[in-house]
Symmetry: C2
């Protein structure tokens, strides 16, 4: 019955983990020291390097041995369980990471800035979505970018949604690294980013519903997602307050408190995954509805390493394994990649900047919000992986979009630093 | 090419995780409150309850839906990837947990007690091994307990080795819970337990080598294991000291220090897994060779929850899924289970007690060492899972041995408390 024993899978997993951690550490060190990049960005690049684009190009046999994609079972080629293990472990890391991001998210500041957040997030969607739709018309001619069975409007909505994504966790990290976590600008950008991503997930659900011919998918995703967020923010929040009281009574987050919290996160991740808006959203909302204080502070301190440091890099590698830079070999695809990047940058940066300015931010802050919102990072990889898994996009479009995600993400940190420095150099 | 999408596997994984955590928490609460048991013991029982023995008996369809064992691919039944994911995630938890156990292991005290540790561990092996071998002669008659292709001596060595196992992580937890971590008795028991387990792994490697007709397996396991431990204790230890200096310089375990440590653990886990003495041993040795101080204290504090609380319960569930109490249905098997438990308890408890007494411990401490060494716990489950995966033992013997592991483990904590209480009641 076995085709790969679990023991053999575990052996390979530990070797994969060691290689991924060492490469991420080395690439991250170079990025921080010489390129002014954050660890996340460099981990995205490390992931692509471990895939067929570099490691697989230099040592194809070693690469497919370490990261086997397929296996023969009775003459049929099936996906190797090793890939599924990498994916699920990375999802666990992603969920815990998004929970921690939610824990840092200041809901009260959001209320004050609600009008601005809505404006920024709406135009952070409208402009890139429209441009994405226009671009998809160019792409839909042959089967290079979309699977042949994908209709014109399905491709349009998918590409539009993919353009709207914001690197929400990265946004959170840059904002916290720069000490902007409590400021109105930081909160505005975070709120708009979260809203944009939620809307993009909803659009993705519509595409998948249509593509798989099950309208109920979209209803579940949008209705269920709203109901979930609403329930968590009302009843959930009132129950979760006890976690803080409990922590204060015990003096620290105990094992029992941790188990309870992990169980809540897993349930939320399962529910949002099952209705099709994906676990990252559920985990973030759960974190945002948890009480602040000793509980949140200790919980973060006691879990962030094992999750974001140990498991999260697996996600970048999983995505990198599906990226094949070789596919951008032809002039036409290269041109398309340039177009995609230009459209992505203009749509998101300019769209968000204008909206923030109209909402009352200064040009300076509006510009910086645009720069931050433009980064696609991790979240783009999530939506692309889903598109690829369900056969909506081809490996070529996947690779083009991953490149766009990397370029927009690499831009964000240095540009933000540059625009921030510029202002402080001016005498007050 | 796909037979289960990664997204579908992730959805199921989060539901499994939620159910496992909630059940472990509920069962653990009952055990602590009413039965005087530790959380580990109750998690073993919770694992069996989630398998075919209870959940599967009451709701067979729900059980196989939540924990699918097999799946059809082109008319062939293959192992469901969901099981492999559970296994690898649980191994990751196990490895990190054993690393933390190693971090607490006091090597210096061991040196003072070397003679005693050798005596206790040797007779902690000799008596149970001999009794196990005798018992295997009874079992080898028909195909109920061993696969037909298992030779008489292979079955004997496997059962002998399985009898020698000590619940090393549980031993460590009981010793630390009772505040005996720095005492000579605690250290003696820990050292003897570690040695016994290492020897049992070596014997298991010999069985597998013979069973698969590859002598090189045994050479790698025993030679490689010794070389690994020696290298780690000399060169490794000298290099790892820098982790403590690094932590002191930074003031805390930083992300980079954590990544480095995780990479070392993964490499050690991979190496020991690959040579066949299994990742738990490599992780423990790595932990034992790491520097003590701020590094070990912070590392433990910052990782123990996500590992032992979140991932470790998966291992108990994985083992429980392979346990079918129904298989002990016949009178003959029931009788054999009684014999196995009697042999296990007499061999380990009495053997270790006598040796400890001869090494100079008081009868009182010698008895308590015997009680602790008798618990099989987690480690027994590991060796049994390997035996089952490689087809050495049948599901029936697996179930009999799991019951033995549970009974000896359930005994340990209350008996130890009872014998300890007894002494303290006597006026000094």
């Amino acid at each position: 019955m076995y085709f790969v024993t679990d023991v053999a899978l575990a052996v390979r997993f530990f070797l994969q983990l060691a290689v991924i951690l060492l490469v991420c550490r080395a690439v991250g060190w170079v990025g921080r020291k010489y390129l002014g990049q954050t660890q996340v960005v460099m981990e995205m690049i490390a992931g692509v390097m471990l895939g067929p684009s570099l490691f697989g190009l230099l040592m194809p046999e070693a690469q497919t041995w370490l990261f086997p994609q397929t296996i023969q079972v009775n003459g049929t080629e099936v996906k190797h369980p090793s890939m599924s293990i990498l994916y699920v472990a990375s999802q666990l890391g992603l969920v815990l990471y998004m929970f921690l991001v939610g824990l840092e998210f200041d809901v009260s500041l959001l209320k004050e800035k609600a009008r601005g957040a809505v404006a920024v997030s709406l135009s952070g969607i409208l402009l890139p979505f429209t441009l994405g739709v226009l671009l998809s018309l160019l792409m839909h001619q042959d089967g290079t970018y979309f699977a042949p069975e994908v209709s014109l409007w399905e491709g349009a909505v998918f590409l539009g949604a993919a353009m709207c994504i914001t690197a929400f966790p990265m946004l959170a990290r840059i904002i916290s690294e720069r000490g902007l976590a409590g400021t109105t600008m930081g909160t505005l950008a975070l709120a708009a980013g979260a809203t944009d991503d939620a809307m993009a997930w909803a659009m993705l659900a519509v595409v998948l519903a249509s593509f798989r011919n099950e309208a109920v998918i979209a209803v579940w995703a949008i209705g269920g997602g709203l109901a979930f967020a609403l329930l968590m923010a009302t009843i959930g929040k009132r129950i979760f307050v006890r976690l803080e009281q409990w922590t204060q009574r015990e003096g620290d987050v105990t094992q029992t408190i941790a188990i309870t919290t992990f169980a809540i996160i897993s349930l939320a991740a399962w529910f949002t995954d099952a209705i099709g808006i994906y676990a990252v959203f559920g985990a973030f909302v759960t974190g945002a509805c948890m009480p602040r204080g000793k509980f949140s502070e200790r919980m973060r301190y006691r879990t962030e390493f094992a999750t974001s440091t140990l498991l999260l890099p697996l996600f970048f590698t999983y995505s990198g394994l599906n990226t094949r830079i070789q596919l951008i070999g032809t002039g036409e695809v290269l041109l398309m990649m340039g177009l995609v990047i230009a459209v992505a940058v203009i749509g998101k940066w300019v769209g968000c900047m204008l909206a923030a300015r109209v909402s009352g931010e200064t040009w300076h802050d509006a510009n910086r919000i645009g720069v931050l919102m433009n980064a696609r990072g991790l979240m783009e990889l999530i939506i692309l992986n889903i598109g690829l898994q369900f056969g909506v996009i081809t490996p070529t479009l996947y690779t083009v979009m991953v490149m766009m995600a990397i370029v927009t993400t690499v831009m964000a940190s240095p540009l933000f630093a540059w625009f921030s420095r510029d202002r402080s150099a001016v005498p007050a």
